[in-house]
Amino acid sequence: MNIHQNIDPNTTEAALAAAYAARRAALPGGVKLAEIRDEAMARFKTLGLPHRRIEAWHFTDLRRLLAEASALSGEAAAPQVADTGFADLKPARLVFAGGAFVAELSDIEGLGEGVEIAALSAGPLPEWALAQIAARRPAGDNAVFDLGLAMMSDGALIRVAAGCTPARPVEIISMSSGGGSVLRHVVEVGDGAKLRLAEHCSGEGAMTLTAMSIDLGDGARLDHVKVQDEGRSTAHLAPVVGLIGTRAVINSFTLTLGADLAREERHVRFDGDDGGGSISGAFLLSGKTHADTTLFIDHAKPGGQSREVFKGIVDDAARSVVQTSVVVAQHAQKTDARQGIHAMLLSDRAAHYSKPELEIYADDVQCAHGATVGELDENAMFYLMSRGISRTVAEAMLIEAFVFGAMDEIADDDLREAISAYALARLDQRQTHG
């Protein structure tokens, strides 16, 4: 990694640094956490916001794109929980509004033995959470993650003890307003334990920065889905760091729908033998949304299996970016990694950038990647219409058929149904308004 020195902070960077200075004393956590925050802010100031000359940010020039955002100032509006699509699963709920936990809207009781769940701001930070916050950072420079580390005002702490499974799935609802919010979620699933986690992000805040770290013990399993349905003026930044143990499984799926600017980052290290899972997603973009998903998958040990599958449509003047970098270490024999990035452009002004990357240092592996960018298949359109189906309905059928191929990546039936229904409702809206 190169070291980037930010000698001349722009107004957004200066405003963020000033916001930190002003809020520092009021931010939750003890002395230890304050030290971590200070160090993170120092790194952020050195690095500055990432820009297009940094390879991983080539298609998403955050420094330029965030220039207009009013960084974290403004008043939070009264929170109101929207329909997140997960109600049928009767999940436990942690609700955050404007970067603060809202106890009266949350429901974190009755999850059963071995499940610890709390808000980061709720009291002294538990040792396990502090240790994870201190230790988990993406490899290399990451100014956005550091910014989150410095400024986090709240977040979900979820810990499932070894061998336990919560009685209900857990849902994290983040609603931003005004200046926005900075959250940090900390998730630990112990050896042989299981967790189903759903995230929903919405609101009209200027900037939402939601970082998360996930530790999966040996034989643990996490089924994670996220709906990013932010307002059209929001910058949504969401770096996630995962450390996956031996024979552990992570299935993480993100449905990207909204925001003005979105950057999902997944740094996943398969740190034990035979770890596996799917880090995938679907996107339905319109308007002027710029949505970037960037993956760093690190197969550090033998026998790992991973899938990175992304499918989506890009309409109007929207832009999508999907970068999937998979590294297979020298000793990680028998790794099986499959990447697929498929986008359909529905407008002449829409754009999509794919960047699948494979770095293989082992010699006995199966790795594949494929990327396609296309338009609606005119032959298929004609076939459907020649049977009497209208252009609008034929389009909707083909779009659904295309995008919903990605939903198969969601292994958990309930979560897949919820995400599919959410996406379908969005496509129906498109059809009605289109």
């Binding site: 020649s386 034929a394 058929a401």
Partner: protein, 257 residues
């Protein structure tokens, strides 16, 4: 001679700026079966696409009147609702679209266009099962995505199943016999014959006479150079089988895709 059913007059169709059909005339009455034969590149498939309204098959001259309406001004779905059905030479595979969903959407779209209510699901299921059985379309095929993994014969039977369900006034069969063995050909031909009716006509496009042993036409036309150059009864097909198309291929001046 003209008809209220289908009247094609002096039709000119261009593909990518090149005329493929050059002044074609054809008249069909209700209940008739017309076969169009001709060498490769004579414009047979182009005629079928022009009738169904495929993009890129531009009518630049002449007229097509179907049941009193100007077909050339209608979109493919409007033509379907008006009663035109094209059985594709190469049916399209559409992964992700379930065959049953597609059939239901198609049937109901046409019912709505005719001012009818949607077919209730149990009735729809019964109807599909009944028609599928006759065409030896298995439940397994119906459960698969549209045409995906279907053999050539299965695809063609699926086309005829769609025709049986949609009950068009005019069925255009574009080389439905291509890629079929004799057993599959018989199943398809029986399917078509069972749909023959006093108010339904067929335009059977084929390169070989073989299909016409099973679907016996009232008229046979020879197409070459984008026109119908000779018409006759079913004996013309036998003559072509004997003599070949050589006579029509000389001095054509142009060939077409």
């Amino acid at each position: 001679m003209s008809s209220d059913f289908l009247n094609i007059e002096n039709l000119v169709v261009e593909v990518a700026g090149k005329p493929i059909i050059n002044g074609l005339n054809l008249t069909m009455a209700p209940g008739e079966v017309h076969a169009i034969m001709g060498p490769n590149g004579s414009g047979k498939s182009t005629l079928s696409y022009a009738l169904a309204g495929r993009n890129g098959y531009e009518v630049t001259g002449g007229s097509v009147t179907f049941l009193g309406r100007d077909l050339t001004q209608m979109s493919p779905d409007e033509r379907a609702a008006a009663g035109v059905f094209l059985a594709f030479q190469y049916p399209i595979e559409i992964p992700g679209v379930a065959t049953m969903t597609f059939l239901k959407e198609a049937i109901n779209a046409q019912r709505r266009a005719r001012g009818l209510d949607d077919l209730p699901t149990p009735q729809f299921m019964r109807l599909v099962r009944e028609k599928a059985k006759a065409l030896k379309v298995s439940d397994d095929m119906l459960k698969r995505p549209l045409n995906v993994g279907f053999s050539g014969g299965e695809k063609k039977r699926n086309e005829i199943l769609q025709m049986a369900l949609l009950e068009p006034r005019l069925g255009v069969l574009d080389e439905t016999d291509s890629g079929l063995d004799i057993d599959a050909l018989k199943v398809v031909a029986e399917g078509v014959n069972s749909l023959r009716a006093a108010d339904r006509s067929f335009l059977v496009i084929t390169h070989y006479q073989r299909l016409l042993d099973h679907i016996v036409p009232d008229f046979v036309h020879v197409m070459a150079g984008g026109r119908i150059v000779r018409s006759g009864d079913k004996s013309l097909a036998l003559e072509l089988e004997r003599e070949g198309y050589a006579e029509f291929e000389t001095g054509m001046g142009q060939s077409a895709a």
